[in-house]
Symmetry: C2
């Protein structure tokens, strides 16, 4: 029973901090605000994270973990280049649309100043993901003997732009449902970039 | 001569402020910092802008003015639906790639807290632009008797995502040149969404 109560304090801190950063701005949020939102003592918070930078870094790392678990790992276990690309598009859109993870994953794309060493780690993981998508696009183009003039690299950036931009406009109660979005984006990308 | 020296102080303030907001964060930048960066007295700055919110609002408005002048107005003067859409893609990418305007236009997509009334004004202009793109896509689909299952709305969001995401990854000295980017994005979008 004790274990249940203490197993996820770090995740809860990251989630509460991410929410505050979005509501009132990163710079305007203090470690005290984060502690207060969680009814933690300052010491209780500092036991887990030494600084706001460290919290931001772990929010971004957690967002990359989510992408790795829910997108990359599933795609790796999928058979066939084309099905892998379709799966990636669907799962990445699902991560973006996930109400539960949104406050964490959206932080990946905000330009908050992070110390260079931490920034490099996050950027490295982002780049790995771009390469993963790029290779997948190349595989599908090869398999389809595609005559497309579109390079896998430009295609990967176009796809990630389409998907990550969803944060900017999507309303869960809007006329465009998640399913319709997956179908249409898959259609645009397959016809446009690997057809 | 006197006129030349005073004609653009507001624009210079906006530009310097945008630069500071990106370097050190919006919340961490004070009106004093902005005044100091421009070697202005605090009174001199407050003569033009009453608050940081007002500066941010005018940066965003200016970014929308740039889009209107350099993209929308040129597209409106262009003949033929297809050529209009091609022109829009090229000119919007050029605005994003413009080193000179980047610090202003990138601010449009940052989620800084703006008072609701000002936020609504900016969002209204952003929505007008989405509708403009959406109508253009519908025109091209109609003209081509397109059998695409892609709705103009989803297509417009996909296109704006592809283009506005360029801020996140583009390096002027990278292997993907601006021209190649325009060509490939036009190709992806035309084949994918209106083909």
């Amino acid at each position: 029973m004790h274990r249940e109560a203490t197993i996820e304090p770090r995740q809860e801190i990251l989630r509460a901090a991410a929410r505050l950063f979005q509501q009132q701005g990163y710079d305007a949020t203090s470690m005290n605000d984060v502690a207060a939102a969680l009814k933690l003592s300052k010491g209780g918070l500092y036991h887990h994270f030494q600084s706001k930078d460290e919290i931001l870094f772990h929010i971004m790392s957690h967002a990359m973990d989510i992408t790795e678990e829910r997108v990359i790992n599933v795609v790796r276990r999928t058979e066939g280049a084309e099905e892998r690309l379709r799966t990636l598009i669907r799962l990445h859109i699902e991560v973006v649309l996930s109400e539960e993870d949104r406050e964490i994953t959206v932080m990946l794309h905000e330009n908050h100043p992070l110390p260079p060493a931490l920034r490099r780690k996050i950027n490295g993981r982002k780049k790995d993901y771009v390469h993963f998508v790029e290779n997948l696009v190349a595989d599908v183009q090869r398999q389809r003997n595609s005559t497309s003039q579109v390079t896998p690299r430009a295609a990967a950036f176009a796809l990630l732009g389409m998907i990550n931009w969803i944060y900017q406009w999507y309303k869960p109660d809007g006329s465009l449902t998640g399913d319709a979005l997956v179908r249409q984006y898959t259609d645009i990308f397959f016809r446009g970039a690997v057809g």
